[in-house]
Subunit: 199 residues, 2 copies
Amino acid sequence: METRSRSERTADSRALILDAAVACLVSDGYAGASTLAVQARAGVSRGRLLHHFPSREELLVAAASHLVNEMLAEAADQAEQLDVADPVERVERCVELNWALFQKPPFWAAMELWNAARTDRALRAALAPEERRINQAIRAAADRIWGPAAVASPRYPVLRELLFTSMRGVAIAYSFEDRPAATDPHLAIWKDLARQMLG
Amino acid sequence: METRSRSERTADSRALILDAAVACLVSDGYAGASTLAVQARAGVSRGRLLHHFPSREELLVAAASHLVNEMLAEAADQAEQLDVADPVERVERCVELNWALFQKPPFWAAMELWNAARTDRALRAALAPEERRINQAIRAAADRIWGPAAVASPRYPVLRELLFTSMRGVAIAYSFEDRPAATDPHLAIWKDLARQMLG
DNA sequence: CCGCGGGCAGTCAGGGTTGACCGTTCGTGC
DNA sequence: GCACGAACGGTCAACCCTGACTGCCCGCGG
């Protein structure tokens, strides 16, 4: 019989609950991520959930940190799988890869939290510093994806900002669009822009 | 004593309630835009609200259409007030003017509805066609803002897309940022891009 | 080996929301 | 003019969510 130390149980419980919280955010939105919904999806008792996260707010703030880790792990994975020699082809792959990140569940969970933070002071205060850290990490991840050659280009920083913000702006539309995001017409624009700005 | 016809009363009631609904969306978010909150803000009775909008959903879908009209009226106003001779200065003004639209209340109300639509089938179905109409109208408004000279430029359509999407992407960040949006560092990037693409 | 406290189960009251459902007034088409 | 139905005012039951609270188990430090 495997004995599980107290700290192990704690970590497992928290991860179990946070995964469920992120899943609830994605499938049902911020309002749907009630403590009851999370507890049901995680398959834990009320006491267990409330023991680890005394309030709904603490739970969702913790979920924010948690999904950031997922997001960055995702990005890191993607960064590895990319080695294309042809420069033009490489640009296209980089754009597609970046765009793909905006269609993952963590992005939508993050959207829910950003949106909720607008009208929730406490959540906002908890999220703001976290987001600053995230943005740094995301930029670093982007740099790894594009590679040293592109990063060295003088116009790369501007390109990175434009792509990142434009993609986010386009991604929002997919909250009410049913078309597949992978065929978005903006892909061509982004690729052209990247080709052009990287010379 | 002014007698108010039935249709007048109807129109007034609907406008009164919808304005309150948009205000609720902006200040308290989708979840906070409860029928009770809207009815309180509008200063109407429960019966009056439920008479015009039998369900919360119908109310908020109607609010979506309503805020679009506000948004476009806003844009039309702005378009008029712009006549600058110097082309470089004009580009800067156009960018700033476009950006300013993303900081108005209707934008945030729209964000709330987009976000809610992601996990609400009915709202989504009601919003999708509306949004397509909106995007057309917004593009037309943008064309009026930029003026015939800029619109004639071969790269204008791409510029318009990039600016529109990038601005939306940046605007989201202000749901949890406290800095004034008018000083956003991306303004410089957008202006450079516009200057460059318009020759 | 013992008792403290972390980890957890289950219940409950309080507050808030929705939409149904009464009743009443009065504009309007016939 | 007259009856029909739109335009309300006001109440209510059913539902859901949150967090407090009580009580139990058991790992672990002393």
